[in-house]
C-alpha cells in the first residue's frame, strides 16, 4: 500500500509543478483556484462512474470495444451530458465566488475556461475508461480493481494540465 501511495504522490508532483508555475496567475485570479479542486474532483467522479459501469458490463458479457456498442454509446452520452451540466454550473459558480474573493475575470472568461477544459477532460475520461477496462481485461486483471485508480490519477494530472492550457489561451 505505502509504496503505491508514495509512487502516486511523486506522479502527482507533475500537476503540482504546473500549479507552482502558474502561481502568480492563480493568486491574481481566485476563480482559477476555485476551479482546481472542482475540475479534478468531477473528472474523478465521472471516471469512476464510467469505469464501474463498463466493468459491470464486462462481467455481464455485454462489453465490447466497439463504438457501435449500445452500452458504450449510452454511457459515453451520459458522461458527456453530466459533464456539460456540471461544468456549466461550475463556470457560473466559480465566477460568482471569484467576484466575492476579489477576482477580475469576466463571466465569459471563467465560463469558457470551465466548459472547454471540462469537456476536453470528459472526452479524455471516456477514452481512458474504455481503454483501461478493455486493457485490464486483456491483461487478465479484474477491471473493478484496476481501472478507477488508474483513470482518476491520470485525470488528476491531465486535469490540471488541460485547465492551465485553456486558461493561458483565454486570459
Amino acid at each position: 500500500m505505502l509504496p503505491l501511495l508514495a509512487g502516486l504522490s511523486v506522479l502527482q508532483m507533475v500537476s503540482g509543478s504546473v500549479l507552482e508555475a502558474f502561481e502568480e496567475t492563480l493568486l491574481a485570479y481566485p476563480s482559477l483556484l476555485i476551479l482546481v479542486p472542482v475540475q479534478i474532483g468531477t473528472a474523478g467522479n465521472l471516471a469512476s462512474i464510467m469505469c464501474a459501469r463498463l466493468s459491470t458490463q464486462l462481467h455481464l458479457g455485454t462489453f465490447e470495444l466497439d463504438p457501435s456498442n449500445p452500452d458504450v454509446r449510452a454511457n459515453t452520452l451520459a458522461i458527456l451530458g453530466l459533464a456539460a451540466t456540471v461544468f456549466l454550473a461550475v463556470g457560473v459558480a466559480a465566477w460568482a465566488i471569484g467576484q466575492v474573493l476579489g477576482g477580475s475575470l469576466s463571466l465569459l472568461e471563467v465560463f469558457t475556461i470551465s466548459m472547454v477544459s471540462g469537456m476536453a477532460l470528459a472526452v479524455l475520461v471516456v477514452v481512458l475508461s474504455v481503454l483501461s477496462v478493455w486493457g485490464s481485461f486483456r491483461l487478465g486483471y479484474d477491471p473493478d480493481d484496476t481501472t478507477i485508480p488508474i483513470v482518476t490519477n491520470v485525470c488528476d494530472i491531465t486535469g490540471v494540465l488541460i485547465l492551465f492550457a485553456v486558461a493561458s489561451v483565454v486570459i
Binding site: S17, E23, G41, A74, V86
Partner: protein, 189 residues
C-alpha cells in the same frame, strides 16, 4: 433491462455528482480565500504538494472504507464501537499510512523545489503536512467508521457510501486542514 439508456445513467448519477460539486466548490473557495492565498505566497512549495496531498486522501481512506465494508459483509467486523482487533488494526494502519505519506510528500516537494532552483524550507513543509495529515486522519477515521457502521446497521451497503463520502470529505477538509497547518506553522516558525 439489457442495455443502459443514456438518460437513465444521467439521472441516477446526477445527484451524487452535484453533491460532490458543492463540496468541490467549498474546497475551491477555501483555496481561493485571501488567507489561503497569503499562505500560498508565504510557504513556497504549497501548490506543489497540493494535488499529491488531496489524491492520497482517497488512497488511504478509500482503502480503509473498502476494508471496513468487506469486513462487515464477511461478518468478521461487527458494526459496534468497541475494542476489536481487526477494526483497530485497520484504523491504525490507515493512520500510519496517512502520516507517512504526508511526510513523504513534504520531503519530495522540498526536493523538487531544490532541483528546480526554488527556495523552500523543509521544516515548514513537513510541519504543514504533519498538521494537515494528522487532523485529516482524525476526522476521516472517526467519520468514516461512524458513518459506515451506522449506515450498515440501517441497511445501507457500505460499498455505496464509502466512495462519495471519502471524496467529499477529503476534498473539503483536506484543503481546510492545509490552511490550518499553514496558519499554525506560521505562528511557530
Amino acid at each position: 433491462m439489457v442495455h443502459d439508456s443514456a438518460l437513465d445513467v444521467y439521472r441516477s448519477a446526477l445527484p451524487v455528482i452535484l453533491v460532490s460539486l458543492v463540496a468541490g466548490l467549498f474546497a475551491g473557495t477555501i483555496l481561493g480565500s485571501e488567507t489561503m492565498r497569503a499562505g500560498i505566497e508565504s510557504v513556497p512549495g504549497l501548490l506543489l504538494l497540493l494535488p499529491a496531498f488531496l489524491a492520497t486522501r482517497g488512497g488511504v481512506y478509500g482503502s480503509l472504507g473498502a476494508r471496513l465494508s468487506s469486513g462487515l459483509h464477511q461478518g468478521v467486523i461487527e458494526p459496534r464501537f468497541e475494542r476489536d482487533e481487526r477494526l483497530t488494526n485497520a484504523v491504525v494502519a490507515s493512520f500510519v499510512n496517512g502520516m507517512a505519506v504526508s511526510v513523504f510528500i513534504a520531503v519530495v516537494a522540498y526536493l523538487v523545489l531544490l532541483v528546480s532552483g526554488g527556495e523552500g524550507s523543509l521544516l515548514q513543509l513537513v510541519g504543514v503536512m504533519v498538521i494537515a495529515g494528522f487532523l485529516s486522519a482524525l476526522l476521516m477515521l472517526s467519520v468514516l467508521v461512524a458513518v459506515v457502521f451506522v449506515g450498515y446497521r440501517r441497511g445501507y451497503d457500505p460499498d455505496n457510501i464509502v466512495g462519495p463520502l471519502v471524496t467529499t470529505l477529503g476534498d473539503v477538509f483536506g484543503v481546510f486542514f492545509l490552511l490550518v497547518g499553514v496558519v499554525l506553522v506560521g505562528w511557530v516558525l
